[in-house]
Assembly symmetry: C2
Homo-oligomer: 120 residues x 2
Amino acid sequence: MKSGQIPAPDDLPSISRTAFHVLVAIGPEERHGYGIMREVERITHGATRLGPGGVYTTIRRLLDDGLIEESDARPDEQLDDQRRRYYRLTGLGRSVVAAEITRLDRLVGAARPWAHESIG
Amino acid sequence: MKSGQIPAPDDLPSISRTAFHVLVAIGPEERHGYGIMREVERITHGATRLGPGGVYTTIRRLLDDGLIEESDARPDEQLDDQRRRYYRLTGLGRSVVAAEITRLDRLVGAARPWAHESIG
DNA sequence: TGACAATAGATCAGATCCTGATATAACTGC
DNA sequence: GCAGTTATATCAGGATCTGATCTATTGTCA
């Protein structure tokens, strides 16, 4: 196989809880830090809220690890807020999300049959 | 509503990654610390492995928070290893698992549509 | 215009949590 | 008895998270 390949899912490093939230919030398009905070809150119906400390240090780490990259795009052309810095997933970032989904599916799948039953 | 009620899912405190793994590994029966380590590895197909540091400090915390309780049961009557300490979920613990499943379903549900597609 | 809230990014201290090593001891198979 | 596995426990160091603080821009509304 060529160098620069995307590792097989099972070999991908695991990521932190917050990092996974950030990657999912960015999604298939571009998103900026503050928008990530609002999107995480929206997706989880308010159950998870990230503070600026969590978001911006996690973005820094994800950039360093090559899971996201900064984008020049200005997705919302109506407004042009120069402060915003947009990010998108890299191929590696998307693979990590896919691997984490597989892991979580197995975990949740193991608990689902009994989790909602009352204690007998 | 009566006092001592189980809180509504959205009001339940969030738990750590390792704590959720431990609760799911214990499941609807009883399980001891070392068995939890093996069960986590089995459920996640080897993707997640907990060391003794993670497992035993997490068990301590879950006991303190009332999410699990120690059990007198000796599920495996064939052998009688006196070192083993068995634990089971409390009603609160099971509610926390159910709430976490709901949260993860939403999170994974948001990512599933695009996560396995190749970068266009 | 001026006041104010919301948006946006960044950093930091303290707390929490995790990893890997170490220790101790009981059990199992030979 | 011996070696390997099972079992619990603790610890130091590192990674991560929370909540506060700071600075500055943008949007809203009187």
